[in-house]
């Protein structure tokens, strides 16, 4: 046991930084080494059996959503949720998009989709712009107290939103943007900044210092180095930040419900109102179509960006 623990500590010393910085990238490199020769060994059957079962469990809800959204109401009342549709209909999708009622308005999710887009685009741009500059300043232009500020920022990122919500309501009300899309954009920008700043700071701190020094010697200033050297080198981290922000802001519910009014509801709030409305017959097919429509944007981001998404969570989560 003694040598194992010795092994343990030395390997720890070597591996701790690797886990932080390289592992997410290496995790993506796929299978390594020789492939096992016998395909149908008992070990493989158990291994793939377990993975297959788990995969079924994770896929089931997506299957149920799709299947239900393509059925008509009579078929839903008869069959079970797993049976495939006998007659495929897109009516529920149309209804969820254009006609479903959310409180006072009966123009479906289309309004919420528009709102969510108008919230998403400016919040993503502004928060990333501010955070990348802040991260750059924290990594390359330290001053007295900047380290302290950095630690404070990390602690601040963990404070539950609930504690700050009401003061923000008051501030937004005083400025006169409470309930408007602008107000929600401001809120998302504010709450996106700490985690993104950490992300950018760590990325910039990892870039070779010589680059920065050389630019300094050539007489480049704060903004010049940022624009000419740091920005062109940081495409990967920008993509990661965009993915984190797009999925995070699109999926938000709490801020949407607190800081908007019925005509400025984002899509998630509308969706919840459609499905959990008490009056009338529950149209499960419309509900599931609405659920899929709301989930579509993050799902597309996830499927398109694939590996980058994984890296994004690993980077954002491991260091967060």
């Amino acid at each position: 046991m003694a040598d194992i623990s010795a092994l343990n500590t030395t390997a720890m010393g070597r591996n701790a930084p690797a886990i932080r910085n390289e592992a997410p990238g290496r995790a993506l490199s796929g299978p390594r080494g020789k492939r096992p020769k016998r395909v149908l060994s008992r070990r493989n059957i158990v291994l793939y059996g377990l993975l297959g079962l788990a995969a079924l469990y994770y896929l089931l809800p997506l299957y149920v959503m799709v299947v239900t959204s393509l059925k008509g109401m009579p078929e839903i009342r008869l069959g079970n949720i797993f049976s495939p549709p006998m007659q495929i209909t897109f009516q529920p999708w149309l209804k969820a998009w254009a006609e479903a009622c959310t409180g006072l308005n009966c123009d479906g999710l289309s309004r919420g989709f528009g709102n969510s887009v108008r919230i998403l685009v400016p919040s993503v741009i502004v928060s990333i712009a501010v955070a990348s500059v802040s991260g750059y300043a924290l990594a390359n232009w330290r001053f007295k107290g900047s380290e302290l500020f950095f630690s404070v920022l990390i602690v601040g990122a963990f404070i539950p939103y609930q504690v700050m919500i009401y003061p923000i309501v008051i501030i937004l009300r005083e400025i006169g943007i409470y309930g408007s899309l602008t107000g929600l954009v401001v809120v998302h920008t504010i709450f996106g900044m700490p985690i993104l700043t950490l992300l950018f700071r760590n990325y910039f701190a990892g870039l070779p210092e010589e680059l920065f020094k050389a630019a300094r010697i050539d007489g480049a200033g704060f903004w010049q180095i940022y624009g000419r050297i740091m920005l062109p080198m940081s495409l990967p981290i920008f993509v990661v930040a965009i993915i984190i922000q797009v999925t995070g802001i699109w999926n938000d519910f709490l801020f949407g419900v607190v800081f908007t009014r019925p005509d400025t509801y984002p899509m998630t709030v509308q969706l919840n109102n459609i499905v959990n409305s008490v009056q009338g017959v529950k149209e499960y097919n419309v509900n599931m179509a609405a659920t899929l429509l709301t989930g579509a944007v993050p799902l597309i981001v996830y499927f398109v960006s694939g590996r980058l998404f994984v890296r994004g969570i690993a980077a954002g989560a491991v260091k967060g």
């Binding site: 995969a55 504690v163 009401y166 694939g306």
Partner: protein, 301 residues
């Protein structure tokens, strides 16, 4: 420390790195005014009897006494404790097992990873609504098993106050275990291949190598994962709203929902402030020891 500009030796501290300070102004303003100002404001007003509007008439610990005397708050705390402990255990165990399986040099690794992780891209609202539908006693799992012949089969967690929190847990685990799997896999890939060889040479069975060598080596990954899951659990709100709206009765209430309801619906701000201060306290208990460990070590290193 390694800032090059330090060497310029300009006498005035205030104007050193002025651009950097200007660039950080928005961030510093937000952090101090919103994060810390807002938090302190809420904590201070939790000692007042504010109802519809915040009022600065202090009543000591009244709100906290009322909070802890409220059965709804007690239910919220119990639910959060059950959900929190079980989801920590299960997501670590399931996440680690999945990661260990994925680490066996399997084919289709990226396909499996995609499948396990896609729920994490979905919002809690979407997750909650899907599982509300699957757990629907008439059409969902219970209905199907009954139609197969087991007429007395009962599985309606969202309609039974005794087990409703487990129904929410099922959905929460479905959404979050992919992330844990991903972090664990990254951790496993960070472990030296030689460790496995050494263990194999010594004839140690695989499960023992995992349990006594690999898992202890992954301590930093486990701690970070714990902190991430932990501070997420305290904020649990959307999932409950989407799945049960806190019902049946008050059976699936959670603290975050208590805060929202008292602040924005019951117009009882004082209670909302006190409850959110308790949430802050819970997070502090999780995060402060971790931050101390992380940054204590970071400064020394």
């Amino acid at each position: 420390m390694r800032s090059p500009s330090k060497k310029s030796g300009r006498p005035n501290q205030l104007f050193r790195n002025l651009n950097s300070k200007i660039a950080l102004t928005p961030m510093i303003l937000v952090a101090t005014v919103i994060f810390f100002g807002g938090t302190i404001w809420t904590v201070v007003y939790s000692f007042t009897n504010s109802r519809l509007l915040p009022r600065a008439s202090f009543v000591g610990l009244d709100q906290y006494q009322r909070l802890w005397a409220s059965s709804r708050w007690i239910v919220s705390i119990e639910n959060l404790a059950i959900y929190g402990i079980l989801s920590l255990i299960f997501s670590l165990v399931i996440g680690f097992i999945l990661a260990a399986l994925m680490d066996q040099k399997i084919r289709f690794e990226s396909a499996f990873r995609t499948i396990f992780l896609y729920p994490f891209a979905l919002s809690f609202i979407v997750t909650g609504l899907v599982w509300q539908w699957i757990l629907n006693p008439e059409f969902g799992v219970q209905g199907i098993v009954r139609s197969l012949g087991w007429e007395s089969f009962t599985f309606d967690p969202l309609y039974n106050p005794d087990i409703v929190i487990y129904g929410i847990l099922i959905a929460g685990l479905w959404q979050g275990t992919g992330l844990v799997m991903c972090l664990m896999l990254a951790g496993l890939r960070g472990i030296d291949e030689d460790i496995w060889k050494a263990a194999r040479v010594d004839g140690i069975p695989m499960w023992r190598t995992y349990l006594f060598v690999v898992i202890p080596m992954m301590r930093p990954v486990f701690i970070t994962t714990l902190v991430i899951i932990g501070s997420g659990i305290v904020k649990l709100y959307d999932l409950v709203v989407a799945q049960t709206s806190g019902g049946p009765g008050n059976a699936s209430e959670v603290p975050a929902k208590y805060v929202y309801d008292y602040m924005f619906q019951a117009q009882n701000l004082g209670q909302g402030f006190a409850a959110s201060t308790m949430m802050l306290l819970t997070v502090a208990i999780i995060v402060v020891p971790w931050a101390y460990l992380e940054f204590g070590g970071w400064k020394r290193g």
